[in-house]
Symmetry: none
Subunit: 207 residues, 4 copies
DNA sequence: AATGAATGAGGATTCATTCAT
DNA sequence: GATGAATGAATCCTCATTCAT
């Protein structure tokens, strides 16, 4: 269907991207060589001219996934809350643009089709986000920017929870529907309120 | 494992439970008739004396899943925050006892192997939890028990986020590891702090 | 469903008859141990208390078939045309009463499910009919009762053809429908006309 | 038999033909994917690169069957008796060349393995023959070419009976054996005698 | 760079049959 | 005499993968 005889690197990219897409829409069992080939406009056997195995395709898909997720990390050199705000904003924006992608991140489909090494890489991506969030929060705490009546880890959970909510990647239909009502800025503002209120009662605004 | 000749109802239960287990450990593609049968100590063809199809097995697994999740809903007739606390506590406890189960709830593996009807049932279970949380929070808000500077939906995200965190069902290894440090009570206490602080600065303790 | 705990010989008969019935209605592939057992009102395993194997069941079914077909052979000691008329009449009557049975005779379903020996037996039943017809016709010819411008074998074909037609056992729907319009007597009368007309032009009635 | 790597359309034809053959020799239960594949010289899974399902294979087999049977219908534009003679001749010739084929037509094996739609198609083929014969006979009768002392339908039965006999497709071994003694022309001549004699005693030859 | 025909290892499922109860 | 739970072999079919063209 699609253009034939593409240069190899482009084909590779196309195949990996397609795999990612199929995985997020049709799930683990929908990801067959035939399904990929069909969408790419190629016969299934031809996939293996570009990749040694299906696992290799998934591996490349993880590359793409890694890259997309990596782009959402903020520029260094700003305060921790600003950094978090930026990550939050980018992630939610990405989720709106490519809902399947983020859903994929939070499902375990990718890890299921990937080999052990691939699964580890996916986990690393997720881990990196969490670590980043934890670091910024720890930093912020040290700087007195976030509340100290609650362990940092709980704040991490809060951030990931609100992020997931605002991104609309939950499995609960109602969560998904309502997520659409929030723009990234509004959601972040609420999140900031949750994070910054201190036991002494001073609100972040009064700082 | 290799107990032979079990009474049928017991075998059914065993098969459904095993399917649930395999699904949470090995994933969608690991859930083969052979795999189930092997763990149960039976030949694969024998499964179909107990269930009409693999889908029927998954259906029964969803029954089990529904039942287990259903048990975590609190007794009615208490205040909204107490109700949430109880749900929280029960869920975290369940997650600790059967980590795979809760992970399953938050992944979409079950929905992937279930037919359309099965998927709807799983979604309903998840939805029910979210709805319950949202209802209690709305109630609590109306009673002035939770902060009003943040939309209820964000509080819902917060609760699910902290719940997920405390339950240790995340895909991020570090989140998982650290979750173990929190007992349900401590985690809930933190969550309550997040929820109840009001704009006027009064802390929940001073209530 | 049916009465339980039947005396063995009766059960045997019942099973064989049921097998015959299923075979004629549902065909070769419908004849499964389960299907038989179900209609008999027994669990499938129980069949093998009465028969050593499915083939043995089919064998017994052939017994029944043989018996039923055998009953349609006319009493000896009458003229050849009268004998043929009686066979014809009985066969058509049987076909009307139990259409599946005769259809079975002319299909090869029975031979398909029977082992080699069983198939031979079924063939023998069919053969016996044909032989009988051929013998009577040969006799009649010798006695100048049937036309001699046509080989006896062609007359055999005519008889079987008209018999099959009148019995309504053909696969052609229109043949089946129209067969119902003929009563055995009328059909035989026509057949007799076909058989008896002689080259000299004298009709059988003028004999 | 073991030719590998055939062009797809040829393989398709081969598979369909083989299915037809197996069906006529080994019967419904012999028609397994394995059996077909083996005779074709291919592994069973490979069949399904050429056909979507076994039913599709049978469907293609019916195509072949339809085509072969269709070829035996005579050219239009001749008198009814000549048309019948031609059909008769072609059918008997086909039966001699491919005995299994005609036997298949008269058994119900094909209808048993075909789905509902396939069965209907097979019936249509049979029906078409019968209808053709009936039409020609009706026409002939109107033209005074066939006897009028016997209902047309009985003549239809006679034709099909003699056809079946001459074709040697009966289940009775002796019928089969003797059929070989008749050449199509001789058999048709006899059949014509049966059909054309009139009540007034005039033989067809004296016409 | 791609196809077209094939394969082998499994996948779910059916079915005749066994045998302890 | 019958059941209830099991089995093993076979069935149709899918899928990743190969390789000659």
């Amino acid at each position: 269907m699609l253009a034939k005889r593409l240069p190899a690197p482009e084909r590779r990219r196309q195949i990996a991207a397609t795999a990612l897409e199929i995985l997020s829409t049709d799930g683990v069992r929908g990801l067959t060589a035939r399904a990929i080939a069909e969408r790419v406009g190629v016969k299934d056997g031809s996939l293996f001219r570009h990749f040694a195995s299906k696992e290799a395709i998934v591996d490349a898909a993880i590359d793409a996934f890694e890259a997309l997720m990596g782009e959402t990390f903020p520029e260094p050199g700003q305060g921790p809350l600003a950094a978090l705000a930026e990550l939050f904003h980018r992630r939610v924006t990405l989720a709106r643009a490519r809902p399947e992608l983020l859903r994929l991140a939070l499902s375990d489909r990718l890890t299921e089709v990937a080999g052990a090494r691939g699964a580890a890489r996916v986990h690393a991506v997720v881990e990196r986000s969490v670590t980043f969030i934890r670091e910024q929060l720890t930093l912020a705490r040290r700087q007195g920017l976030v509340r100290d009546d609650v362990p940092v880890e709980v704040l991490v959970w809060t951030v990931t929870g609100v992020l997931r909510g605002a991104a609309g990647t939950s499995h609960a239909p109602s969560l998904r529907r309502r997520a659409a009502r929030f723009d990234p800025a509004g959601a972040w503002h609420s999140l900031e309120l949750l994070l910054t209120q201190r036991t002494d009662g001073s609100s972040p605004e009064t700082r």
